[in-house]
């Protein structure tokens, strides 16, 4: 008969790996605590298996553990069998929680994980004795390779779960299983963090009981050297000089990989979509449909899929760091510096990931325990200079400064460095402001468990990459795709008739205007988005921008790099080659004032606008997904826009 079975245990006990092996599903795993933050469901031999987030105790639960506690109590009321997964190398610590679960008197099986590490460290567990004491089946498994899994499957198949002994009987006045169950159930339901003395007493008594169980069932055949090699590695990797040097080297490799390795598949994807656009333009006969597919749908899809290599490579590298245990060491090294800004070492990876792309960075904030800190990182990380800002920066810097003199240090390089630094400073200041001034509830409690160093489990690494990439395509992709088509519609249609636009173009050509314009540029001017550009012109005029820059600002809301493509269309270049765009922008004359458009003041103002403005709808989509509300995405968009406008305005006023 089919039934529901729940996997429970402490964080980092290997529940998710075991869940994946049992159900054949692909769930993210890692070598640090708190990987599972949601309840996951799968099937095993016709039974429904639930993977619950790890928790440390039923009596004292942090906010993120409350989901697991409530679900355990709910399932326990329905006598749902539990599989308690224990880290074999931390058996005594894990059995304290087991003793609490046992007191709920629900059918149970005790799984002792990391069988391989137990034998490697010559630790022998007398399974039969342990089974007799706890009163339920005990299985030794290795969730990394599936060793021992058949026995667990047999327990599930034959429903051999047993209601365990209430092993902490000394905690209760009456030694009756039913009384113990009711008594503990009530205690757990009513427990609050104020019952400090009760909780401590309960913990100490359980610890005493569990210690005696471990002493009588676990044999250490040699001196326990389990953590020795990890400590030796830590001496190097956390060294004040070597540790920092290795950390910087690892980061260099990580970002170099994201930029270098990703460029090849990105070029392929780009080329592939350009080829598809060509095909559709050639073979679709209906003009409007051909334009929609060629300039709307295919570029829209391409705009989503082109990010896959960067996201996949970044998550592959981060996942390897996670699974080896080094990720926690990076948090350890950076904690002291980040604390000055109200953050902790757990924020370092999301912040640094933002240099590549804010999307995976925001997704990785789930490792942060403190809700206020997590919110601060989500809100501030898009201010770090992502790769999408680079094309905008390089074009505008090149417009401002002539070609490099050939010397190693030049104004172009210095400008780029200053923009990156400005992004970092803005991020840290905003994070400081949010952690010190916002109303989001937080806690100042912080601890970091440093896992032992392990070789990565490649199956789990690739599973993580697959899940993260899929999540990006499904969640953010559909919004990017939708807005891309919307932008195409706005740029392709006009409230005016074609004849009207053609007449205007003819009139312009016959006039003595010194500025030469193409028909495409005129079409854009009279399109809906052209009208929108003119509509916002009074708002952006104080920054020194005209309606054409306004259009580029509007279209680059989809993604910052669209700015370059839009300018190329508006200024009728017909090619996105940087040199031609730079030359055109340098010589561009304002039709109304007959003065250059891209002065030093306008260029600096635009650069500052792009340093601070959100201008990335996929980031907004991810913020909504991770915070569960559009409210935060909108607030973020508005405050970044306010910062962008303020800094751009000040720069223009000073430099004009």
């Amino acid at each position: 008969m089919s039934q529901t079975i729940a996997l429970i245990g402490k964080p980092n006990s290997g529940k998710s790996s075991l869940f994946n092996l049992l159900t054949g599903l692909n769930q993210k795993t890692g070598n640090y605590a708190g990987v599972t933050v949601d309840i996951k469901t799968g099937k095993c031999i016709g039974n429904v298996v639930i993977d619950l987030p790890g928790l440390n105790s039923l009596r004292i639960t942090s906010p993120e553990e409350t989901i697991a506690k409530q679900k355990i109590l709910e399932l326990s009321s329905a006598q749902t069998p539990f599989i308690f997964v224990s880290n074999g190398m931390q058996l005594e610590d894990n059995l304290i929680l087991f003793s609490e679960i046992a007191d709920l008197q629900t059918p149970l099986a005790l799984v002792i994980n990391f069988k391989d590490e137990l034998s490697k460290n010559q630790i022998s567990i007398q399974r039969q004795e342990l089974e007799d004491i706890v009163g339920c089946p005990v299985v030794l498994v290795n969730s990394r390779n599936g060793d021992g899994l058949d026995e667990l499957r047999l327990i599930i198949q034959k429903n051999r779960f047993k209601v365990p002994h209430a092993i902490s009987r000394s905690l209760y006045d009456e030694f009756d299983d039913e009384v113990i169950k009711n008594s503990y159930f009530q205690k757990v339901q009513l427990s609050s963090d104020q019952n400090w003395n009760d909780n401590q007493t309960d913990y100490l008594k359980r610890q005493k009981t569990v210690s005696s169980i471990v002493r009588s069932t676990v044999n250490y055949l040699s001196e326990n050297t389990y953590l020795q090699s990890t400590k030796k590695w830590d001496k190097i990797l956390l060294h004040p000089i070597w540790g920092l040097a290795i950390f910087l080297f690892v980061m260099l490799v990580l970002f170099q990989a994201v930029f270098t390795f990703a460029s090849y598949p990105m070029d392929l994807i780009d080329g592939g979509f350009a080829f598809l656009s060509g095909i559709s333009e050639q073979y679709i006969q209906i003009a409007w449909l051909s334009d929609l597919v060629t300039n709307g749908i295919i570029p829209g899809l391409g705009g989503v899929l082109i990010f896959i290599p960067q996201i996949a490579i970044l998550f592959f590298m981060l996942s390897v760091l996670e699974h080896t245990g080094y990720l926690s060491r990076i948090s350890y090294i950076s904690d002291g510096f980040l604390r000055k800004f109200g953050l902790s070492g757990k924020s370092i990876i999301p912040l640094m990931s933002s240099w590549a792309c804010a999307i995976p960075a925001i997704m990785s904030t789930r490792v942060i325990d403190d809700p206020k800190e997590r919110m601060a990182v989500i809100m501030a990380s898009p201010l770090m200079t992502c790769s999408a800002r680079l094309p905008v920066y390089t074009i505008l810097i090149a417009v401002m400064f002539p070609e490099p003199s050939g010397s190693f240090i030049n104004m172009q390089g210095i400008s780029l460095l200053l923009l990156y630094l400005l992004g970092v400073i803005a991020t840290l200041v905003v994070a400081w402001f949010i952690t010190n001034r916002s109303n989001v509830e937080g806690n100042n409690l912080w601890t970091l468990e440093l896992p032992v160093y392990r070789m990565p489990n490649w199956r789990n690494v690739f599973t993580t990459v697959y899940i993260k990439t899929k999540s990006f395509i499904v969640e953010a992709g559909k919004i990017i795709f939708f807005i891309s088509i919307l932008l195409w519609l706005l740029a392709s249609f006009s409230p005016k008739s074609e004849d009207f636009i053609a007449n205007k173009y003819e009139q312009y050509q016959q006039s003595d205007n010194i500025v030469e314009l193409s028909k495409e540029s005129f079409d854009l001017e009279y399109s809906y988005i052209g009208y929108m550009g003119k509509f916002i012109e009074p708002t952006i005029a104080p920054l020194g921008y005209d309606w054409k820059i306004g259009i580029a600002l509007l279209t680059s809301f989809a993604a910052r790099e669209v700015f370059v493509g839009t300018l190329s269309t508006i200024y009728s270049i017909g090619s996105e080659e940087e040199s031609s765009i730079i030359e055109k922008l340098r010589t561009e004359i304002n039709r109304n004032t007959s003065k250059p458009v891209f002065t030093m003041a306008v260029s600096v103002s635009l650069l500052l606008f792009y340093v601070f403005a959100m201008q990335c709808m996929s980031t907004m989509a991810i913020v909504r997904k991770e915070t569960g509300s559009w409210k935060y995405a909108i607030v973020q968009f508005l405050f970044m826009l306010a910062l962008a406008y303020g800094f751009a305005f000040i720069a223009y006023i000073i430099l004009k």
Binding site: N56, L445, L450
Partner: protein, 79 residues
């Protein structure tokens, strides 16, 4: 080596100690208890590099890092 100003004693690397009193507030004490640290807990000092402002201990087979300020709220005696 852990170097602190207000601790009467210095706990060296790989030395074992037992927690004899917790002087933090209830919230901190609860938090430490969640991670298996309370009165009577035996721990091993692993390391505490000055730059990090953190103390790393082995507690119940786990390597846990605490902020130095939180660690200072614990009274311990070497065993």
């Amino acid at each position: 080596m852990l170097e602190t100003d207000n601790m009467p004693d210095i706990l060296l690397e790989n030395e074992r100690a037992i927690v004899i009193r917790l002087d933090g507030n209830t919230e901190l004490n609860q938090f430490l208890l969640i991670h298996g640290i309370t009165v009577g807990t035996v721990f091993i000092m692993n390391y505490s590099p000055k730059y990090a402002g953190l103390v790393n201990l082995t507690v119940g087979g786990k390597m846990i890092s605490l902020r130095t300020g939180d660690f200072k709220t614990m009274d311990w005696t070497r065993i």
